[in-house]
Symmetry: none
Subunit: 198 residues, 2 copies
DNA sequence: GTGTCTATGTATAATTA
DNA sequence: TTAATTATACATAGACA
């Protein structure tokens, strides 16, 4: 069929939510949608009196942020938590896929972790029921009501958590190796919207 | 059945972007728009390969967060910026000696703790599904297959464990010693999950 | 990289189950 | 209270400047 001439545009077309290959189209989409996202965040804040922060890094590594009342104000509420917002930590995030040569070590580490978890599980078995009861009604285990636990199971619970945490940390250490170079420009604070891109 | 003629609804109505007074309507709006915001953030990330983090505190103080690949991963990249993270808060009283305002400070610390706990839960929500998947079929959370967790959620998993452990310890201390609560000691990040130089 | 335009896909305000 | 419905307001893909 021949489209009648005179139609200036097909209008908005439906697209699938999947990685856009074409870098030009991706860049335009990022720009538009980032603006839309910030607007939504702003409206949410205004309408509901909420404190909202949005941080976005484009694939090229340029950073953009929006915050109400300010990015810092919101992020600082997160910052006191261990490891977040600390400028001392390296940036292991966004690491690519592990190389094939790393798979061996990775698998081994995973095995070890698995064994540790299994051992942990065995140790935990006798307090399982009580802990499960403390967790009753909660959707996720970390919402468990610690106060419902008696003094008998608490120490073991704490020790178990510590061991598991260490296991996880070791596993994480093994998984992460490469450290991609972060690239950031300095702020040009106009409003609450910051653009750290070139 | 036959739908009685007449419009069942007026459909979406236009609203001004200004603070919603009615708390009920505000809560509903916050809920819906937060979901929409997170979805938009997710789509931006997927479409454009961008790293995105969104943090929102409702007026009531409840915290919600979304992050791809994870909230922490994104915020850590943002941390090196001046004023965000670490101790960038204005602290003029640090040099002087604390007076009776200590009470106020304590109260504030308690507030902060509350916010931190809320924030922690919010952050865990966005990895909840992944962890739940790793836990699939297992009766208890500590049976989770750590191997199945990716690098993005491992740190959060580890930190959740750490937090829970600390909670347990505090509670244990309270239980075991009938003495008045020790100082509200907030951060004690002895070991940092993000320290991969182990 | 941003702004404009059109036509259309999507988010959501109000309502109801 | 969390979920559907409906009709409409708004966001945005594509093309161009």
């Amino acid at each position: 069929m021949v489209r009648p001439r005179g139609r200036p545009s097909l209008g908005r077309q439906r697209i699938e939510i999947r990685p856009i290959e074409d870098s030009e189209r991706r860049q335009v989409t990022f720009s538009k949608r980032r603006a839309g996202l910030f607007k939504k965040a702003s409206e949410l804040s205004t309408l509901c009196g909420a404190a909202v922060a949005v941080v976005a890094f484009s694939k090229a590594g340029n950073a953009f942020a929006f915050g109400e009342p300010s990015v810092d104000a919101v992020l600082r509420r997160f910052a006191p938590l261990p490891g977040v917002g600390s400028s001392a930590a390296p940036d292991p995030a966004a690491a690519g896929d592990p190389g094939p040569e790393e798979l061996g070590a990775l698998r081994q580490a995973a095995e070890q972790t698995k064994a540790q978890v299994a051992a942990e599980q065995a140790r935990m078995h006798d307090v399982a029921e009580k802990i499960a009861r403390a967790q009753a009604g909660k959707q996720f285990w970390w919402e468990a009501d610690v106060e419902a636990l008696g003094e008998a199971e608490l120490p073991e619970f704490a020790r178990a958590l510590e061991r598991l945490r260490d296991s996880v940390r070791r596993h994480a250490n093994t998984l992460l190796s490469a450290t991609p170079p972060p690239q950031l420009q300095l702020p040009a604070p106009e409003l609450n919207v910051w653009d750290y891109s070139l």
